[in-house]
């Protein structure tokens, strides 16, 4: 039951953050960063298992490694960008958060262009 540990950790951290927010907002912000990192580090084993399963599934379905690795890269970029933009939003600077999201969208678009090109090739091949 790791979920109980995580919920307990989050509740305790929230109490401490609320305690610190009036006097030291910067340290409260850093505490919220640390709790996000700790939760991800605890979930790593499960996420790795899911990634392995997806890889296995794609291997069985004969999907090219290019596509599945693109999907994983997109998931990673989205996670990191979400992490950063949530921190910026917590600190009250929404404009920087939206810039992070913008750059993540551009990176994802760049990564997904080869897949789009493959789809276009397929369509051209199917069309007489």
């Amino acid at each position: 039951m790791e979920i109980i540990q995580i919920v307990g950790l989050c509740v305790v951290t929230t109490i401490l953050v609320v305690l610190l927010r009036e006097d030291r907002p910067e340290i409260a912000l850093q505490m919220s960063i640390v709790v996000g990192v700790i939760i991800l580090l605890r979930m790593i084993n499960q996420i790795l298992a899911i990634v392995e399963y997806l890889r296995d599934l794609s291997l069985r379905a004969n999907i090219s490694n290019l596509y599945i690795s693109t999907v994983f890269k997109i998931i990673g970029i989205a996670y990191i960008a979400e992490f950063g933009s949530q921190i910026c939003k917590d600190a009250g600077s929404h404009s920087i958060a939206s810039k992070i999201e913008f750059s993540a969208k551009v990176f994802i678009l760049v990564l997904s262009f080869p897949v789009l090109m493959a789809v276009m090739d397929l369509i051209i091949k199917i069309l007489p």
Binding site: G8, V12, L16, I38, L40
Partner: protein, 89 residues
């Protein structure tokens, strides 16, 4: 001294409750940061009351830098983990 011992006892109790599987270090950092924040805020209030505004400011800055040092290590660990997990090179 008695109150210190009692506080440390509570702290150990909390750590034992929160970490069962050798993840003590990670949870430890959280409480360290909270403790630094509380101590820094008390110190800067005392220094303000004593009329030493500049030193209070310096204390605040030092606290932020110390906490940032800890946080940056954890965040770099997170980025490394995500990079290796999703093969983002």
């Amino acid at each position: 001294m008695e109150i210190f011992r009692r506080v440390i006892g509570y702290y150990d109790f909390l750590i034992i409750i929160l970490s069962k599987r050798g993840v003590k270090v990670e949870v430890d950092i959280l409480f360290k940061i909270a403790a630094i924040g509380i101590v820094i805020s008390i110190l800067s209030k005392v220094l303000d009351e004593a009329g030493r505004k500049e030193q209070a400011q310096m204390t605040t800055l030092a606290g932020v830098v110390i906490v940032l040092m800890m946080v940056i290590q954890l965040v770099s660990q997170l980025f490394y983990n995500v990079k290796t997990m999703f093969q983002l090179y």
